[in-house]
Amino acid sequence: GAQSLHPLSLAPTVTSEQIEHLHRRFKQLSQDQLTIRKENFDSIPDLEFNPIRGKIVHAFFDKRRNLRQESDGLADEINFEDFLTIMSYFRPIEMNMDEEQLDRFRKEKLKFLFHMYDSDHDGKITLQEYRNVVEELLSGNPHLEKESARSIADGAMMEAASICVGQMGPDQVYEGITFEDFLKMWQGIDIETKMHVRFLNMETIAHCY
């Protein structure tokens, strides 16, 4: 059942109906196996056109951060429990959450995002990593050159630096965006209301053939 999964679930937030639906979907993706491998994601046609597909799929298999396992690195395959774990990062907020819960909720979502950007998992998003992300993001637009993407990333990094650190002294070097900085950047914005998917719509599209 949902409740027994892991400390992530703050409350029974993924209903059994939703779990059933996701389970069906899981079976579809895994072709009735018990686990999913990376290749199974290839069978989702619409996902192909997604520019940051790589990072997203990667996030599903990331052992330490997202799957809450002890070891590091990438798992080869994930089971349904893991699948649910990742999905639960995207559940919407509930009306009856209190301040503390909301805050934790928010932090978790932001942490997920942070892990996606921080590809070498050292706790900092460096310029190069940021550049990668931006290049990938903008790769969908064929008219945007790589240099443009790079300069945008640079500009964004500078903005981040100025928000997080303010005026830097002459000898300071800005290493990268840490998670605290990341939180600071998102201070005014309601990520809780933006980063979720509606699980209520029960129509499954037969993506996998």
Partner: protein, 808 residues
């Protein structure tokens, strides 16, 4: 015509030198006078801040209208001016709705479309039905006395009083600033309920005309069908005209002056066409605005875009002012006044109560499907914000007195309802909002990071939707933007616009421009332009620096210099000689800044008045210049340790640009760039083709000195990499430039004729003020290895080729 008859009359008298031809100009004169009075009234209102903070403008205008109407009536005992439905529907309403549609935040609108539609359709029907039926019920009890209306008339009245009015909502909510979701729901509802209102009104009006006995089930069915036809038809008409407009705007490159006109004409045609086909005209013009905005804004020039914006706002604002004022004037018409206490009072009660009930019920249903729930406070604001306005009044004035016997009663009631909602509810909504602590809009500067992450979100969320196998919002939005990118853009957008039109890029561009311009403004504000103010140049320069400059873009020096007529003398030699003693090095530096950033302050303000052409201003190019430079500097300055420090930068030569050179239409960095992939390279002098991005219409800009000069990458050769792990030394941001450099290389003291920003001058960028976030947020090292000194020996390197000098 008139003149001939007049002259015939006066033929037996002498020639009248001057005659008073009032009748001749009466109509346009009166209209113009009223518009003037309304606008003057606005000025008067805004003189008193205290009043306008509390009382909404619309209320003040209504009161003014009543006063004026009273004056006119007292003088003439006739009510000569009323808000006729024709004038209202044909001339006053379209600008307001077009303005709403054109500036509609599409993403927000379509994101909440389900909610909006529910309130607009179901809510309005609910309001109409309950109000009409309740009034009829009460009538049957006899409290209202004797009226000549039956059920159908009451339903007719209910349908026209039920609709939330876009004009009133805009007028009141504009001053309240609730959060955007709430606003878009109420406002969207007020726009989209037009379809329902039109259908209900027409249906019941015809039912009243054909008589209650002839109303059969078929007629009712027809009514329901007509709802779908009217609403969908109106929308399609709007979309069709939006398509037309976008297509036309693609080809207006050579008729820039009348470009804005197309927007208005075609949108207006969509309104009239829908009206002609008895479809919902408001929906048509709304969707015309909504659908065309993206493509039109991409296609038309900056100036046209500004023109469109301001004209639209002006017309909408003007129309709104006139509407409210005339609402007041029309009230002063004793002929129409019929008082029926019960009716009026009950109407007020019913519309308020049923609105609340309707909102609560619908919200309860909606909250089961919405991800962002609407709380109690939102519901209160939504109920309270359901204002009725001029649309109801116009509709009631349209009624045929013979068919609807109680027309006067209806008119009076409508007037009172409108006044009540606009004045009373308008007055009290602000304190209510504050008391309830409604979440307000946060106006924040667009942040690049937000845009980026927003984009990342969209992708992540669509991916999750795909993976979990659901059709969700993001899936749909994704599909739409793919479709848009593949087909629509290619047809409707200009080729140049297609390439550069990426939201993130736009934000980036804007931010850079802002930074650059504020950079200059800041430098000037610090007093480094004192030399311009010297008495000897006062007669030459009309720039007034004595007024305190607000820190907005408009106060930038470039703006001032552009705006003031008269030549500005930046003749370096002349100034230098005159004030060598007084001037600081700092001034020199700042002046350099100006030199670099403000290529061509108007040498002479040539007034080329032409009705068919605007001389294309060079400001666009200057802006692009500034942008490129700042970008380059930023790239140079920001290197993280992980990147690897060891890349030498190359000093590029400057090329005289061929005209035949292919221009790449990228609006960001030109080709030359820092190769970060090759860690160690020797210092080489490489010649690069420098391409400059321009907009398409400047193909013949031969004398564009800007193009050549700026486009080089001022790179520094690094010779001591290994002992500098902390970052790249960058002369751009180092504070301690050797001052002697400037003395040595004052370019204006060279013997050459063409002095202007020499390569050296440009490269020696002065110390920049360090309170600019994006431009110079930090310095990585203050070691100034100014290898320009080292690299900069040779005169044999080709100089800059700026044909213009600063000699005026």
């Amino acid at each position: 015509g008139q003149r001939s008859s007049e002259s015939a009359k006066n033929s037996n008298q002498s020639f009248a030198i001057v005659s008073f031809k009032w009748d001749h100009v009466k109509e346009p004169y009166i209209i113009a006078l009223w518009v003037l009075v309304a606008s003057l009234a606005k000025i008067v209102f805004h003189l008193s801040h205290k009043v306008t903070r509390v009382v909404p403008e619309s209320a003040l205008l209504i009161v003014l209208g009543i006063v004026l109407g009273g004056i006119v009536w007292a003088a003439d005992h006739i009510a000569s001016f009323t808000l006729t439905p024709t004038v209202f529907f044909f001339y006053l309403l379209p600008p307001i709705v077009l303005d709403a549609g054109y500036f509609m935040p599409n993403r927000l609108f379509f994101g909440n479309l389900g909610t909006i539609l529910l309130y607009a359709v179901i809510g309005t029907v609910w309001n109409a039905a309950t109000t009409g039926l309740s009034l009829y019920g009460v009538y049957l009890t006899g409290i209202m006395g004797k009226l000549q209306s039956g059920l159908l008339e009451f339903l007719l009245f209910g349908s026209l009083i039920a609709a939330v009015d876009p004009v009133a909502v805009l007028a009141v909510f504009e001053e309240v600033h609730v959060n955007e979701v709430l606003f878009i729901i109420v406002f969207g509802e007020s726009l989209l309920n037009d379809a329902v209102t039109v259908v209900l009104y027409n249906v019941f009006e015809s039912f009243v005309a054909i008589g209650p006995t002839n109303v059969t089930g078929i007629e009712c069915l027809k009514g329901i069908v007509s709802f779908f036809v009217v609403s969908l038809g109106g929308t399609l008409v709007g979309i069709f005209f939006a398509f037309l407009l976008s297509l036309v705007s693609r080809f207006t490159k050579h008729v820039r002056i009348i470009e804005p006109g197309f927007v208005f004409i075609i949108s207006y045609l969509s309104y009239l066409t829908a009206e002609m086909l008895s479809l919902s005209a408001i929906l048509a013009i709304t969707f015309c605005g909504i659908c065309c905005q993206k493509y039109v804004k991409a296609n038309i020039s900056e100036q046209s875009s500004t023109t469109v914006r301001y004209t639209m706002k002006m017309m909408a604002s003007g129309a709104e002012t006139i509407i409210f004022m005339f609402l007041g004037i029309s009230a002063v018409n004793p002929d129409i006044w019929t008082w029926n206490t019960a009716f009026i009072l009950l109407t007020l009660v019913f519309i308020s109560v049923y609105r609340v009930i309707g909102v609560v019920l619908q919200t309860w249903i909606l909250n089961r499907y919405r991800t962002v729930q609407l709380g109690i406070i939102d519901q209160v604001v939504m109920s309270y914000g359901g204002l009725r306005g001029a649309v109801a009044f116009a509709l009631v004035a349209l009624l045929d007195k013979d068919k609807v016997k109680d027309k006067n009663l209806f008119v009076s009631t409508t007037i009172i309802v409108v006044f009540f909602t606009v004045i009373f509810q308008g007055l009290t909504i602000k304190p209510l909002v504050q008391w309830l602590k409604v979440k307000k809009t946060e106006h924040r500067e667009p942040k690049l990071n937000e845009k980026l992450h927003g984009r990342a979100f969209d992708h992540i969320l669509s991916a999750i939707e795909d993976i979990s196998g659901q059709i969700g919002h993001h899936y749909l939005r994704d599909k739409w933007s793919n479709f848009d990118r593949k087909f629509l853009r290619k047809i409707l957008m200009r080729r140049s616009a297609q390439k550069s039109r990426d939201q993130i890029l736009n934000v980036f561009h804007e931010l850079n421009l802002k930074d650059a311009i504020s950079y200059v403004a800041e430098g000037e504000r610090r007093g480094s332009l004192a030399f311009i103010r010297s008495p000897s140049t006062d007669n030459m320069v009309n720039v007034d620096f004595s007024t305190p400059l607000p820190s907005t873009v408009e106060s930038s020096v470039s703006y001032l210099l552009r705006e003031k007529a008269g030549p500005v003398c930046l003749d370096m030699q002349a100034l230098e000689q005159r004030r060598k003693s007084i001037r600081d090095t700092e001034d020199t530096l700042a002046h350099h800044t100006l030199q670099q950033y403000l290529y061509k302050p108007r040498q002479e303000h040539k007034h080329l008045y032409s009705r068919h052409e605007i001389m294309h201003s060079e400001d666009d190019k200057q802006d692009k210049e500034i942008f490129h430079r700042t970008m380059r500097k930023r790239l140079e300055s920001f290197k993280s340790t992980k990147l690897g420090i060891n890349h030498p930068k190359k000093l590029n030569k400057i090329h005289k640009r061929d005209r035949g050179q292919k221009r790449r239409n990228s609006s960001v960095i030109p080709n030359g760039n820092i190769p970060s992939e090759n860690p160690v390279q020797d210092f080489t002098l490489k010649e690069k083709d420098l391409e400059f991005s321009e907009s398409e219409e400047n193909n013949d800009y031969e004398t564009l000195h800007l193009g050549k000069g700026v486009d080089f990458l001022a790179n520094v050769t690094q010779q001591n990499f290994t002992d500098n792990p902390a970052g790249i030394d960058n002369p751009v941001f180092s504070a301690d430039d050797d001052q002697s450099i400037y003395m040595k290389f004052s370019p204006w003291l060279s013997s050459e004729d063409t002095v202007v920003p020499s390569q050296r001058a440009r490269v020696q960028i002065p110390y920049s003020p360090n309170n600019f976030r994006r431009l110079t947020p930090f310095r990585l090292s203050n070691k100034s290895v100014d290898s320009f000194l080292l690299a900069d020996g040779p005169e044999d390197r080709p100089r800059t080729f700026l044909p213009e000098s600063t000699h005026m």
